[in-house]
Protein backbone atom coordinates (compact mmCIF):
# COMPACT_ATOMS: atom_id res chain seq x y z
CA UNK A 1 0.00 0.00 0.00
CA UNK A 2 1.32 3.48 -0.83
CA UNK A 3 1.55 5.94 2.06
CA UNK A 4 -1.65 7.65 3.06
CA UNK A 5 -2.85 9.86 5.91
CA UNK A 6 -5.81 8.65 7.97
CA UNK A 7 -8.45 11.08 9.28
CA UNK A 8 -11.55 10.42 11.36
CA UNK A 9 -13.73 13.53 11.24
CA UNK A 10 -16.60 13.86 13.72
CA UNK A 11 -18.96 15.72 11.40
CA UNK A 12 -20.11 15.62 7.79
CA UNK A 13 -18.89 19.22 7.28
CA UNK A 14 -15.40 18.27 8.48
CA UNK A 15 -15.42 15.23 6.18
CA UNK A 16 -16.32 17.36 3.16
CA UNK A 17 -13.69 19.95 4.14
CA UNK A 18 -11.12 17.16 4.58
CA UNK A 19 -11.85 15.79 1.12
CA UNK A 20 -11.64 19.27 -0.40
CA UNK A 21 -8.30 20.11 1.19
CA UNK A 22 -6.67 16.75 0.44
CA UNK A 23 -4.48 16.43 -2.64
CA UNK A 24 -6.21 13.20 -3.64
CA UNK A 25 -8.55 12.18 -0.85
CA UNK A 26 -10.90 9.20 -0.61
CA UNK A 27 -13.70 8.38 1.77
CA UNK A 28 -13.26 5.21 3.79
CA UNK A 29 -16.38 3.36 4.94
CA UNK A 30 -16.22 -0.42 5.39
CA UNK A 31 -13.03 -0.57 3.35
CA UNK A 32 -14.11 -3.85 1.72
CA UNK A 33 -13.61 -2.41 -1.75
CA UNK A 34 -11.17 0.44 -1.19
CA UNK A 35 -8.59 -1.42 0.93
CA UNK A 36 -8.23 -4.41 -1.43
CA UNK A 37 -7.83 -1.90 -4.27
CA UNK A 38 -5.16 -0.01 -2.33
CA UNK A 39 -3.36 -3.24 -1.43
CA UNK A 40 -3.13 -4.03 -5.14
CA UNK A 41 -1.79 -0.52 -5.86
CA UNK A 42 -4.82 0.20 -8.04
CA UNK A 43 -5.70 3.18 -5.83
CA UNK A 44 -3.33 5.43 -3.91
CA UNK A 45 -5.28 8.18 -2.14
CA UNK A 46 -3.06 10.67 -0.26
CA UNK A 47 -5.69 10.93 2.47
CA UNK A 48 -8.37 8.61 3.84
CA UNK A 49 -11.41 10.23 5.40
CA UNK A 50 -13.13 7.64 7.60
CA UNK A 51 -16.84 8.48 7.85
CA UNK A 52 -17.75 5.78 10.38
CA UNK A 53 -17.29 8.08 13.37
CA UNK A 54 -19.83 10.62 12.16
CA UNK A 55 -23.02 10.81 14.20
CA UNK A 56 -26.14 9.74 12.33
CA UNK A 57 -24.29 8.09 9.42
CA UNK A 58 -25.51 4.64 10.31
CA UNK A 59 -28.81 3.25 11.44
CA UNK A 60 -32.18 2.19 10.08
CA UNK A 61 -35.55 3.84 10.59
CA UNK A 62 -39.02 3.80 9.09
CA UNK A 63 -40.74 7.07 8.20
CA UNK A 64 -44.28 6.27 7.13
CA UNK A 65 -43.96 4.43 3.83
CA UNK A 66 -40.24 5.05 3.51
CA UNK A 67 -37.40 2.91 4.83
CA UNK A 68 -34.35 5.06 5.60
CA UNK A 69 -30.89 3.49 5.82
CA UNK A 70 -27.81 5.47 6.86
CA UNK A 71 -24.88 5.28 4.44
CA UNK A 72 -22.49 3.69 6.94
CA UNK A 73 -24.95 0.91 7.89
CA UNK A 74 -23.30 -2.46 7.31
CA UNK A 75 -24.65 -5.23 5.12
CA UNK A 76 -25.03 -7.42 8.25
CA UNK A 77 -27.09 -4.71 9.97
CA UNK A 78 -29.42 -4.40 6.98
CA UNK A 79 -29.75 -8.20 6.71
CA UNK A 80 -30.52 -8.57 10.40
CA UNK A 81 -32.83 -5.59 10.84
CA UNK A 82 -36.42 -6.39 11.77
CA UNK A 83 -37.46 -3.04 10.27
CA UNK A 84 -35.97 -3.99 6.90
CA UNK A 85 -37.37 -7.53 7.13
CA UNK A 86 -40.83 -6.11 7.75
CA UNK A 87 -40.77 -3.23 5.24
CA UNK A 88 -38.76 -4.66 2.32
CA UNK A 89 -37.76 -8.28 3.02
CA UNK A 90 -36.12 -8.54 -0.41
CA UNK A 91 -33.60 -5.91 0.65
CA UNK A 92 -32.68 -7.85 3.80
CA UNK A 93 -32.30 -10.98 1.72
CA UNK A 94 -30.13 -9.16 -0.83
CA UNK A 95 -27.86 -7.86 1.94
CA UNK A 96 -27.54 -11.35 3.46
CA UNK A 97 -26.18 -12.63 0.14
CA UNK A 98 -23.38 -10.08 -0.31
CA UNK A 99 -19.91 -11.63 -0.19
CA UNK A 100 -19.42 -13.51 3.07
CA UNK A 101 -20.11 -12.97 6.77
CA UNK A 102 -16.85 -11.10 7.44
CA UNK A 103 -17.37 -8.77 4.47
CA UNK A 104 -20.95 -8.14 5.61
CA UNK A 105 -19.74 -7.13 9.09
CA UNK A 106 -17.69 -4.28 7.58
CA UNK A 107 -19.04 -3.34 4.13
CA UNK A 108 -21.64 -0.56 3.97
CA UNK A 109 -24.59 0.27 1.76
CA UNK A 110 -23.23 3.77 1.06
CA UNK A 111 -19.87 2.39 -0.04
CA UNK A 112 -21.53 -0.08 -2.36
CA UNK A 113 -23.83 2.51 -3.93
CA UNK A 114 -21.00 5.07 -4.23
CA UNK A 115 -18.76 2.52 -5.92
CA UNK A 116 -21.45 1.36 -8.41
CA UNK A 117 -19.58 -1.80 -9.35
CA UNK A 118 -21.37 -3.31 -12.37
CA UNK A 119 -21.55 -6.66 -10.53
CA UNK A 120 -22.63 -5.31 -7.12
CA UNK A 121 -26.01 -6.20 -5.61
CA UNK A 122 -27.36 -3.01 -3.99
CA UNK A 123 -27.53 -0.85 -7.14
CA UNK A 124 -30.27 -3.13 -8.52
CA UNK A 125 -32.45 -2.61 -5.43
CA UNK A 126 -31.84 1.15 -5.37
CA UNK A 127 -32.85 1.44 -9.03
CA UNK A 128 -35.83 -0.96 -9.01
CA UNK A 129 -37.30 0.49 -5.82
CA UNK A 130 -36.86 4.08 -7.05
CA UNK A 131 -34.84 5.00 -3.96
CA UNK A 132 -33.52 8.49 -3.25
CA UNK A 133 -29.83 9.02 -2.58
CA UNK A 134 -29.47 11.74 0.05
CA UNK A 135 -26.06 13.41 0.15
CA UNK A 136 -24.48 16.17 2.23
CA UNK A 137 -25.93 18.72 -0.22
CA UNK A 138 -28.93 17.35 -2.16
CA UNK A 139 -31.26 14.47 -3.00
CA UNK A 140 -30.69 12.42 -6.14
CA UNK A 141 -33.31 10.12 -7.69
CA UNK A 142 -32.00 6.63 -8.47
CA UNK A 143 -32.82 7.03 -12.17
CA UNK A 144 -30.46 10.04 -12.36
CA UNK A 145 -27.82 8.58 -10.09
CA UNK A 146 -26.34 5.55 -11.90
CA UNK A 147 -24.34 6.69 -14.91
CA UNK A 148 -22.47 3.64 -16.19
CA UNK A 149 -20.04 1.21 -14.60
CA UNK A 150 -18.32 2.78 -11.57
CA UNK A 151 -19.90 6.12 -12.61
CA UNK A 152 -22.45 8.03 -10.53
CA UNK A 153 -23.94 11.51 -10.29
CA UNK A 154 -21.81 12.20 -7.20
CA UNK A 155 -19.75 15.36 -7.53
CA UNK A 156 -16.32 16.16 -6.18
CA UNK A 157 -16.28 15.69 -2.37
CA UNK A 158 -19.95 14.72 -2.23
CA UNK A 159 -20.88 12.27 0.52
CA UNK A 160 -23.88 9.95 0.64
CA UNK A 161 -25.64 10.42 3.95
CA UNK A 162 -28.56 8.02 3.65
CA UNK A 163 -30.77 6.09 1.26
CA UNK A 164 -34.53 6.41 1.25
CA UNK A 165 -36.48 3.42 -0.08
CA UNK A 166 -40.22 3.79 -0.71
CA UNK A 167 -41.96 0.57 0.34
CA UNK A 168 -43.06 -1.47 -2.69
CA UNK A 169 -46.17 -3.62 -2.70
CA UNK A 170 -43.93 -6.64 -3.20
CA UNK A 171 -40.32 -7.17 -4.23
CA UNK A 172 -37.83 -9.98 -4.73
CA UNK A 173 -34.18 -10.35 -5.72
CA UNK A 174 -32.65 -13.36 -7.46
CA UNK A 175 -28.89 -13.62 -7.86
CA UNK A 176 -26.65 -16.08 -9.62
CA UNK A 177 -23.43 -15.61 -7.68
CA UNK A 178 -20.10 -15.85 -9.40
CA UNK A 179 -18.81 -19.03 -7.75
CA UNK A 180 -15.37 -17.51 -7.17
CA UNK A 181 -16.07 -13.95 -6.07
CA UNK A 182 -19.69 -14.22 -4.79
CA UNK A 183 -20.52 -10.99 -6.65
CA UNK A 184 -23.47 -11.21 -9.06
CA UNK A 185 -22.81 -12.95 -12.34
CA UNK A 186 -26.34 -11.71 -12.92
CA UNK A 187 -28.81 -10.36 -10.38
CA UNK A 188 -32.39 -9.28 -11.07
CA UNK A 189 -34.43 -7.15 -8.66
CA UNK A 190 -38.16 -7.11 -9.35
CA UNK A 191 -40.49 -4.67 -7.59
CA UNK A 192 -44.25 -4.26 -7.79
CA UNK A 193 -44.59 -0.56 -7.00
CA UNK A 194 -47.14 2.25 -7.19
CA UNK A 195 -45.35 3.30 -10.39
CA UNK A 196 -45.84 -0.20 -11.89
CA UNK A 197 -43.51 -3.12 -12.43
CA UNK A 198 -39.82 -2.22 -12.03
CA UNK A 199 -37.06 -4.62 -13.04
CA UNK A 200 -33.38 -3.75 -12.53
CA UNK A 201 -30.55 -5.95 -13.76
CA UNK A 202 -27.02 -6.02 -12.34
CA UNK A 203 -23.96 -8.05 -13.34
CA UNK A 204 -24.85 -8.19 -17.02
CA UNK A 205 -24.30 -4.93 -18.83
CA UNK A 206 -21.05 -3.17 -19.65
CA UNK A 207 -22.75 0.04 -18.61
CA UNK A 208 -23.67 -1.21 -15.16
CA UNK A 209 -27.07 -1.60 -13.57
CA UNK A 210 -30.07 -0.89 -15.84
CA UNK A 211 -33.84 -1.21 -15.98
CA UNK A 212 -35.18 -3.78 -18.40
CA UNK A 213 -38.07 -2.16 -20.26
CA UNK A 214 -39.15 -5.34 -22.04
CA UNK A 215 -39.51 -7.24 -18.78
CA UNK A 216 -41.31 -4.32 -17.16
CA UNK A 217 -43.80 -4.07 -20.03
CA UNK A 218 -44.51 -7.81 -19.94
CA UNK A 219 -45.00 -7.83 -16.16
CA UNK A 220 -47.24 -4.77 -16.27
CA UNK A 221 -49.73 -6.79 -18.31
CA UNK A 222 -49.33 -10.06 -16.43
CA UNK A 223 -47.30 -10.18 -13.21
CA UNK A 224 -46.34 -13.85 -13.48
CA UNK A 225 -43.21 -15.90 -14.08
CA UNK A 226 -44.68 -17.16 -17.36
CA UNK A 227 -44.89 -13.60 -18.67
CA UNK A 228 -41.08 -13.49 -18.56
CA UNK A 229 -40.76 -16.26 -21.15
CA UNK A 230 -42.09 -14.24 -24.06
CA UNK A 231 -39.67 -11.34 -23.54
CA UNK A 232 -36.69 -10.92 -25.82
CA UNK A 233 -33.50 -10.46 -23.80
CA UNK A 234 -30.83 -8.97 -26.02
CA UNK A 235 -27.20 -9.59 -25.11
CA UNK A 236 -26.05 -6.44 -26.86
CA UNK A 237 -23.71 -4.44 -24.63
CA UNK A 238 -23.44 -7.32 -22.15
CA UNK A 239 -20.12 -8.31 -20.58
CA UNK A 240 -18.21 -11.30 -21.91
CA UNK A 241 -15.37 -12.59 -19.76
CA UNK A 242 -13.85 -15.81 -18.46
CA UNK A 243 -16.81 -16.24 -16.12
CA UNK A 244 -19.63 -16.02 -18.67
CA UNK A 245 -20.18 -14.76 -22.19
CA UNK A 246 -22.83 -12.24 -23.16
CA UNK A 247 -25.37 -14.80 -24.39
CA UNK A 248 -25.06 -16.85 -21.21
CA UNK A 249 -25.61 -13.70 -19.17
CA UNK A 250 -28.69 -12.85 -21.27
CA UNK A 251 -30.10 -16.28 -20.52
CA UNK A 252 -29.35 -15.79 -16.82
CA UNK A 253 -31.30 -12.51 -16.90
CA UNK A 254 -34.37 -14.46 -17.98
CA UNK A 255 -33.84 -17.25 -15.44
CA UNK A 256 -33.19 -14.83 -12.56
CA UNK A 257 -36.18 -12.67 -13.58
CA UNK A 258 -38.38 -15.79 -13.53
CA UNK A 259 -37.07 -16.79 -10.11
CA UNK A 260 -37.56 -13.30 -8.70
CA UNK A 261 -41.13 -13.07 -9.97
CA UNK A 262 -41.90 -16.56 -8.67
CA UNK A 263 -40.50 -15.57 -5.27
CA UNK A 264 -42.92 -12.62 -5.08
CA UNK A 265 -45.59 -15.16 -4.22
Amino acid sequence: MYPTKYHKPASLEDAVAGLRSAEDGALLAGGQTLLPTMKQHLAAPTDLIDIRGIDGMSGIRVEGDVLVIGAATTHAEVAGSSDVQAAIPALAQLASGIGDAAVRHMGTIGGSVANNDPVADYPSAVLALGATIVTDRREIAAEDYFQGMFMTALEEAEIIRELRFPKPRRAAYAKFPNPASRYALVGVFVADTAAGACVAVTGASESGVFRHEGLEAALSGDFSADAVDGVEISSEGFMSDIHADADYRANLVRVMARRAVAALG
Binding site: M1, Y2, P3, T4, K5, Y6, K8, L28, G31, Q32, L35, P36, K39, Q40, L48, D50, R52, A76, G80, G99, D100, A101, A102, V103, H105, M106, S181, R182
Partner: protein, 168 residues
Protein backbone atom coordinates in the same frame (compact mmCIF):
# COMPACT_ATOMS: atom_id res chain seq x y z
CA UNK B 1 2.19 7.48 12.49
CA UNK B 2 -0.88 7.45 14.68
CA UNK B 3 -1.21 6.28 18.25
CA UNK B 4 -3.77 3.48 18.70
CA UNK B 5 -5.19 1.88 21.80
CA UNK B 6 -6.64 -1.58 21.44
CA UNK B 7 -7.56 -4.46 23.65
CA UNK B 8 -6.13 -7.63 22.16
CA UNK B 9 -7.10 -10.94 23.75
CA UNK B 10 -8.11 -9.08 26.88
CA UNK B 11 -4.87 -7.11 27.24
CA UNK B 12 -4.56 -3.38 26.58
CA UNK B 13 -2.13 -2.57 23.77
CA UNK B 14 -0.85 0.88 22.84
CA UNK B 15 1.36 1.49 19.80
CA UNK B 16 2.33 4.08 17.22
CA UNK B 17 1.55 2.61 13.81
CA UNK B 18 1.89 3.89 10.25
CA UNK B 19 -1.55 4.77 8.85
CA UNK B 20 -1.20 2.07 6.19
CA UNK B 21 -0.75 -0.80 8.67
CA UNK B 22 -3.35 -3.54 8.20
CA UNK B 23 -4.70 -5.17 11.33
CA UNK B 24 -3.21 -8.49 10.15
CA UNK B 25 0.29 -6.95 9.93
CA UNK B 26 -0.17 -5.21 13.25
CA UNK B 27 -1.06 -8.51 14.94
CA UNK B 28 1.69 -10.52 13.26
CA UNK B 29 4.57 -8.04 13.07
CA UNK B 30 4.01 -5.73 16.02
CA UNK B 31 2.43 -8.11 18.52
CA UNK B 32 4.00 -11.32 17.14
CA UNK B 33 0.62 -13.02 17.23
CA UNK B 34 1.40 -15.14 14.20
CA UNK B 35 -1.60 -17.44 14.59
CA UNK B 36 -3.51 -15.04 12.35
CA UNK B 37 -2.52 -16.09 8.84
CA UNK B 38 -2.43 -14.16 5.59
CA UNK B 39 -3.28 -16.35 2.62
CA UNK B 40 -4.12 -13.90 -0.15
CA UNK B 41 -3.94 -10.27 -1.11
CA UNK B 42 -7.46 -10.04 -2.52
CA UNK B 43 -9.48 -10.27 0.74
CA UNK B 44 -10.98 -13.60 -0.32
CA UNK B 45 -9.39 -16.47 1.62
CA UNK B 46 -10.43 -15.80 5.23
CA UNK B 47 -7.21 -17.17 6.80
CA UNK B 48 -6.88 -13.81 8.58
CA UNK B 49 -10.30 -13.71 10.26
CA UNK B 50 -10.28 -12.33 13.82
CA UNK B 51 -13.05 -10.87 15.96
CA UNK B 52 -13.37 -7.11 16.29
CA UNK B 53 -15.85 -6.10 18.98
CA UNK B 54 -17.21 -9.64 18.85
CA UNK B 55 -17.68 -9.89 15.08
CA UNK B 56 -15.68 -11.82 12.50
CA UNK B 57 -13.72 -9.55 10.17
CA UNK B 58 -10.88 -10.02 7.73
CA UNK B 59 -7.90 -8.49 9.51
CA UNK B 60 -6.16 -8.02 6.15
CA UNK B 61 -8.97 -5.65 5.16
CA UNK B 62 -9.04 -3.29 8.12
CA UNK B 63 -6.58 -0.56 9.06
CA UNK B 64 -5.16 -0.75 12.58
CA UNK B 65 -5.54 3.05 12.97
CA UNK B 66 -9.25 2.83 12.28
CA UNK B 67 -9.78 0.47 15.23
CA UNK B 68 -8.79 2.75 18.10
CA UNK B 69 -10.68 1.58 21.19
CA UNK B 70 -11.71 -1.76 19.69
CA UNK B 71 -11.55 -5.18 21.30
CA UNK B 72 -9.78 -7.74 19.16
CA UNK B 73 -9.74 -11.48 19.72
CA UNK B 74 -7.37 -13.69 17.76
CA UNK B 75 -6.93 -17.46 17.65
CA UNK B 76 -4.42 -17.09 20.52
CA UNK B 77 -7.20 -15.70 22.71
CA UNK B 78 -9.94 -18.29 22.48
CA UNK B 79 -8.61 -21.07 24.72
CA UNK B 80 -8.91 -20.75 28.48
CA UNK B 81 -5.45 -21.47 29.73
CA UNK B 82 -4.67 -25.02 28.64
CA UNK B 83 -8.30 -25.83 27.98
CA UNK B 84 -9.13 -25.57 24.29
CA UNK B 85 -12.19 -23.68 23.14
CA UNK B 86 -14.93 -26.19 22.16
CA UNK B 87 -14.44 -25.14 18.53
CA UNK B 88 -10.72 -25.94 18.71
CA UNK B 89 -11.46 -29.25 20.45
CA UNK B 90 -13.99 -30.18 17.76
CA UNK B 91 -11.52 -29.39 14.95
CA UNK B 92 -9.05 -31.67 16.72
CA UNK B 93 -11.58 -34.49 17.26
CA UNK B 94 -12.90 -34.41 13.70
CA UNK B 95 -9.52 -34.09 12.04
CA UNK B 96 -10.77 -30.88 10.43
CA UNK B 97 -7.37 -29.79 9.20
CA UNK B 98 -4.50 -31.03 7.14
CA UNK B 99 -1.82 -28.35 6.62
CA UNK B 100 -3.57 -26.08 9.12
CA UNK B 101 -3.03 -22.85 7.22
CA UNK B 102 -6.73 -21.98 6.96
CA UNK B 103 -7.54 -23.29 10.45
CA UNK B 104 -7.23 -20.11 12.56
CA UNK B 105 -9.63 -18.31 10.21
CA UNK B 106 -11.96 -21.32 10.08
CA UNK B 107 -12.12 -21.47 13.87
CA UNK B 108 -12.69 -17.72 14.27
CA UNK B 109 -15.43 -17.82 11.60
CA UNK B 110 -16.87 -20.97 13.20
CA UNK B 111 -17.12 -19.34 16.63
CA UNK B 112 -18.65 -16.22 15.07
CA UNK B 113 -21.34 -18.18 13.24
CA UNK B 114 -22.23 -20.23 16.32
CA UNK B 115 -22.56 -16.99 18.31
CA UNK B 116 -24.74 -15.34 15.68
CA UNK B 117 -27.06 -18.30 15.25
CA UNK B 118 -27.37 -18.77 19.01
CA UNK B 119 -28.18 -15.09 19.49
CA UNK B 120 -30.85 -15.30 16.78
CA UNK B 121 -32.21 -18.56 18.18
CA UNK B 122 -31.66 -20.25 14.81
CA UNK B 123 -30.40 -23.72 14.00
CA UNK B 124 -26.96 -24.17 12.49
CA UNK B 125 -27.24 -27.23 10.26
CA UNK B 126 -24.62 -28.59 7.86
CA UNK B 127 -26.02 -26.79 4.83
CA UNK B 128 -26.09 -23.47 6.65
CA UNK B 129 -22.51 -23.98 7.82
CA UNK B 130 -21.37 -24.56 4.24
CA UNK B 131 -23.08 -21.37 3.17
CA UNK B 132 -21.61 -19.46 6.12
CA UNK B 133 -18.11 -20.65 5.21
CA UNK B 134 -18.20 -18.85 1.87
CA UNK B 135 -15.45 -16.48 2.97
CA UNK B 136 -13.05 -19.19 4.19
CA UNK B 137 -11.05 -21.14 1.66
CA UNK B 138 -9.37 -24.47 2.46
CA UNK B 139 -7.05 -25.97 -0.12
CA UNK B 140 -6.61 -29.31 1.65
CA UNK B 141 -9.56 -30.86 3.37
CA UNK B 142 -12.50 -30.66 1.01
CA UNK B 143 -14.47 -29.04 3.87
CA UNK B 144 -16.37 -32.15 5.03
CA UNK B 145 -14.60 -32.49 8.35
CA UNK B 146 -14.61 -28.73 8.90
CA UNK B 147 -18.40 -28.71 8.53
CA UNK B 148 -18.67 -31.69 10.91
CA UNK B 149 -16.43 -30.00 13.47
CA UNK B 150 -18.44 -26.78 13.46
CA UNK B 151 -21.71 -28.71 13.69
CA UNK B 152 -20.37 -30.67 16.64
CA UNK B 153 -18.95 -27.58 18.36
CA UNK B 154 -22.28 -25.80 17.92
CA UNK B 155 -24.01 -28.72 19.66
CA UNK B 156 -21.41 -28.80 22.47
CA UNK B 157 -21.65 -25.07 23.05
CA UNK B 158 -25.42 -25.16 22.95
CA UNK B 159 -25.44 -28.15 25.30
CA UNK B 160 -23.01 -26.72 27.83
CA UNK B 161 -24.55 -23.28 27.32
CA UNK B 162 -21.08 -22.01 28.03
CA UNK B 163 -20.08 -18.60 26.72
CA UNK B 164 -18.92 -19.09 23.13
CA UNK B 165 -16.20 -16.49 23.50
CA UNK B 166 -13.72 -17.23 26.19
CA UNK B 167 -11.99 -13.90 25.93
CA UNK B 168 -14.74 -11.56 24.87
Amino acid sequence: MTNVNLTVNGKPVRRDVPDTTLLSDFLREDLRLTGTHVGCDTSQCGACVVHVNGKAVKSCTALAVSLDGAEVTTIEGVAQGRELHPMQAAFNDHHALQCGFCTPGMIMSGIDMVNRYRAAGKDLDAETIRHELEGNICRCTGYHNIVRAIEDAAARIQGADAPAHAAE
